[in-house]
């Protein structure tokens, strides 16, 4: 584990370096407080620090205050070293943000024990951060496909529409639905169905740019948001996605299965300042139209055709799925 030593006294610094290297720490040492802050703020910085109280440029408590003020992503466990021993000094040291306090000349065993305490606290912090990140992931992603979940993809769509309106750009909204997916589940079971959904998700992710969004909108429905998309290329990109799904069979425990996807496409520029949920209704109608046209194809939602598409009664559309 990396550890920073900040001490202006070269003798004390060398003694600390050697003591800590012996027990396996990777030591970085600096002679003043400013360099300590720089070192602790760097990428892959040490998360344990031994700071002398009195140093030129910036003293130990000053380093603690500076680091705490920055609210870095990774917690730094800081231990002040000093020959000051009054209760007032202890209070000042700890209130500056230091985690612990050791009086010089230090006893090597006590120092090591206190650093182990620091390591335990850092480990606990890592566990908490990991748990928080795990919960955040679960709250924002679909557990089966690991794509964005419905709530998040809708939120991302709303933000992207606002941005493209503000910048006079164009967002392409694609709603895709696997054709006859119910048959996969009925004939081969839900586990095979899940394998198909995971592979479709993987192919969708591979077919978009890193800054586009892909989410699982419903059971076998996927919403793709192509950010800053040129209007003349949107249909072509939807076609690429359709081909990505149907060109190669999906390998499953039930053997290779051919799967196709119908898609509705919508260009935000065609629809003015309409909210996301209204645009979704329009692209959903286009998707229904693609199903009605024989599936494994794409239909674009256009304002002038909106009435015609919408005129197909929903129960009639449902049977095309």
């Amino acid at each position: 584990m990396k550890i920073l030593i900040a001490d202006d006294d070269p003798l004390s610094r060398r003694l600390l370096e050697k003591t800590l290297e012996r027990v396996g720490y990777e030591v970085i040492s600096v002679p003043d407080g400013r360099q300590a802050v720089k070192s602790l703020s760097a990428t892959d910085a040490p998360r344990l620090a031994l700071l002398d109280w009195m140093m030129p440029e910036l003293d130990g408590p000053g380093v603690c205050r500076e680091i705490r003020k920055r609210r870095q992503q990774n917690y730094v466990y800081m231990l002040l070293l000093t020959s000051r021993q009054s209760k007032e000094d202890t209070v000042v040291g700890l209130e500056s943000g230091a985690d612990d306090y050791l009086v010089k000349p230090f006893n090597a065993d006590e120092l090591k024990a206190r650093l182990r305490t620091g390591e335990r606290i850092l480990h606990l912090e890592d566990c908490l951060v990991e748990a928080r990140e795990d919960m955040r992931f679960k709250a924002t992603h679909d557990h089966l496909t690991t794509l964005w979940n419905r709530a998040v993809i809708m939120d991302l769509l709303g933000r992207e529409l606002t941005r493209s309106q503000r910048e006079n750009g164009c967002t392409a909204v694609l709603l895709g639905d696997l054709d006859h997916f119910k048959n996969v589940n009925d004939n081969h079971g839900h586990l095979v169905g899940d394998q198909v959904l995971r592979e479709v998700a993987r192919r969708l992710l591979l077919s978009v740019r890193s800054y586009d969004f892909v989410g699982r909108y419903g059971g076998e429905e996927f919403l793709v948001v192509l950010n800053n998309c040129r209007p003349d290329s949107a249909f072509g990109r939807a076609e690429e996605i359709r081909k990505t799904i149907c060109t190669r069979p999906i390998q499953t425990d039930a053997g290779p299965l051919g799967v196709t996807m119908s898609l509705g496409v919508l260009l935000s520029r065609d629809w003015g300042q309409r909210p996301a949920d209204e645009l979704l209704q329009e692209v959903d109608a286009a998707l229904y139209a693609a199903k009605a046209a024989g599936r494994n194809c794409i239909k674009q939602a256009k304002p002038e055709e909106s009435h015609e598409v919408a005129s197909v009664p929903p129960p009639a559309l449902e049977r095309f799925r």
């Binding site: 006294d9 070269p10 003798l11 060398r14 003694l15 009195m54 010089k104 000349p105």
Partner: protein, 129 residues
Amino acid sequence: MNKADHSSEAASVNLNELLARVDNDRELLCELLSIFKQEFPGHLQGLQNAVARNDAAQVARISHTLKGMLSSLAVTKAVASVTRLEQLAHAGEISSLRGALGALEKEVQGLLPEMDSYLAEAANENTNR
């Protein structure tokens, strides 16, 4: 190095304590003594100048630095003297600084020759190995 030779009352450095502090690493011990020999004269000179100028803040700062160095090397008697000097400077007792400096100078008078003898012994031990 023969520990018994340096553990008498007259010795400035508490060698047993120092060896324990460096985990019996004589190479490190020699390295620390060399650093001290290099740094100490400049700090002592700075301290003498600050006392001559009645500059209490500077006396306090340099005394603190010296206290740390002397403590690290377990030079126990000198630590007491330099601590007193630091306290007097913090208290602004300018008139007492010269006397306290004199006591410190007396404590550290034989320090560098003593360290030289440790280093020479260590070098001999290495040669005879």
